[in-house]
Symmetry: C2
């Protein structure tokens, strides 16, 4: 059954008055739509954490830069509603841009060092857009819980920081990356890939696996781990944007010498024209999740 | 009677649970302490708007620039509690800096054009600090109403914008400037003034009066109104930072030609080393409020 869709803040708040009157808790899964099994896993996780789950569908203009794929980003509300309903979302919030960015708006939420480097380097302003829209979603829902995927790892760390720093009374929960059976991380942008580009895209999970296997057999030299990952990406003919090891919490580059704490290996590369990201934690890696 | 003081977010939220359980509404008056009759007027106004009024006392480090008066800003908690109690505040929130800016914090809230020019020009980062702390106070209290004074007119417009843009479910209410019997706007910084500097400081309200009288007798030429105000400030020997006419809502410079809509005349000047600001609306000016 398709869940109800609200397109305004006022409708949503009116619904939430009833939810709160009966003492029910709310978890929110923010998405840009084009839902896949990864999003559905977030909704199912959210259902374990709250009485009711709302899913937002909003292709947020402020997190796209000039020349990025805002215009062609897949929009498929009907199919999304079916998938949201399958996963158990009680309702969907799918506002127009003017509802979230009212005329004359000029307020932005930004974080510092966490948003620099990695995706922040090639997508200036991206995390300002992300932090701003999620702060607004907090205002709309005041949920007890937000659930985000770990594929956008830097985004997750940025949003954890925003929630903590702005003293938002919300728990930020993350869910492991969901992958196809051959290892490709689910992404709404995978639809852009031709069959050959999709084959090449497997270089990303293969690079993570190569580094993980080396790590598991005792390799702790950051340079050698990065070289393994880079070599794999090159072997698959991908156009590499970054291959980096960072502290899993602060995203700071690890100190010189062998890895000690939990690190995260983060990749961004293009297959054809499509920009893809992937990551894995080294030292505390959860079991892979399959679609 | 002195109201209770909470120094942590947790204590404050615990108190608010009881408030909400009995269906009471809350208004918050954010201050930096050093309370005077202007702050007390804000509390009294807030009492008309909500069942309970909280007053915050927090000398917010992020809204002070290098070389400004953060260190010497007057701090007088005991006297402030007496005044807050007199005016009818139910409780005071007086956190330490670490409670509002947790370790590793790096999130900021900023507005665009509204924060440029006027005080934003000489105090870079000031309105980022103001917008950030008030967004955090919203998270702490989720009040129905914030009450701010009109003396910090640009601040008021910035905070109205932040509330609207971040979709915060709060009403931002303002209260007219409260003045001494001779016209000087009440300010916590007036304590810095020597008797001679205080005499010179009267140039600010006199400049506003000169322009207002001219406006009331039909003067609509921005240049002549500004010249009147500037001349008065010069006559009092003040060190002028800005004298500006702006649209009362957008703070945009008025279009060329005679004034039409509601304008605001804004002044900043130093008397001795003390920076003072004042303003008045032209075209829709409320009666002056005396302490």
């Amino acid at each position: 059954m398709m869940p109800p869709v609200f397109s305004t803040v006022a409708e949503t708040r009116a619904h939430l008055v009833h939810l709160r009157a009966r003492g029910a808790s709310l978890a929110v899964v923010p998405t840009m739509g084009a839902l896949h099994a990864g999003h559905q896993a977030l909704v199912r996780r959210a259902r374990d954490l709250a009485d009711e789950v709302a899913l937002t569908i909003f292709v947020n203009p402020t997190q796209f830069g000039p020349g990025e794929d805002f215009d062609k980003y897949p929009r498929q509300l009907e199919a999304d509603l079916v998938r949201a309903g399958e996963a158990g979302a009680a309702f969907v919030f799918a506002p127009g841009a003017g509802e979230i960015y009212p005329p004359g708006e000029q307020t932005r939420v930004s974080v510092g060092a966490l948003a620099e480097g990695l995706c922040g380097a090639s997508r200036p302003g991206h995390f300002v857009g992300v932090a701003t829209v999620v702060t607004k979603f907090f205002s709309v829902f005041a949920p007890a819980t937000f659930v985000f995927g770990q594929k956008d790892y830097q985004q997750l760390k940025v949003l954890e920081r925003v929630a903590q720093d702005l003293l938002l009374p919300v728990q930020v929960v993350s869910h492991p990356i969901v992958r196809e059976s051959d290892g490709l991380a689910l992404s709404s942008r995978n639809v852009y890939l031709s069959p050959a580009e999709r084959e090449a895209a497997l270089g990303l999970p293969r690079a993570l696996t190569a580094a993980t296997l080396a790590y598991q057999t005792g390799e702790r030299d950051p340079k050698r781990l990065l070289a393994l990952a880079s070599g794999t990406l090159a072997h698959y003919g991908l156009d590499v944007e970054y291959v980096e090891l960072r502290d899993a919490e602060t995203l700071a580059p690890p100190p010189d010498g062998p890895l000690t704490g939990t690190a995260v290996l983060l990749l961004a590369a293009r297959s054809g024209g499509t920009r893809l990201i992937d990551n894995t934690r080294l030292g505390q890696d959860p079991a892979p999740v399959r679609a």
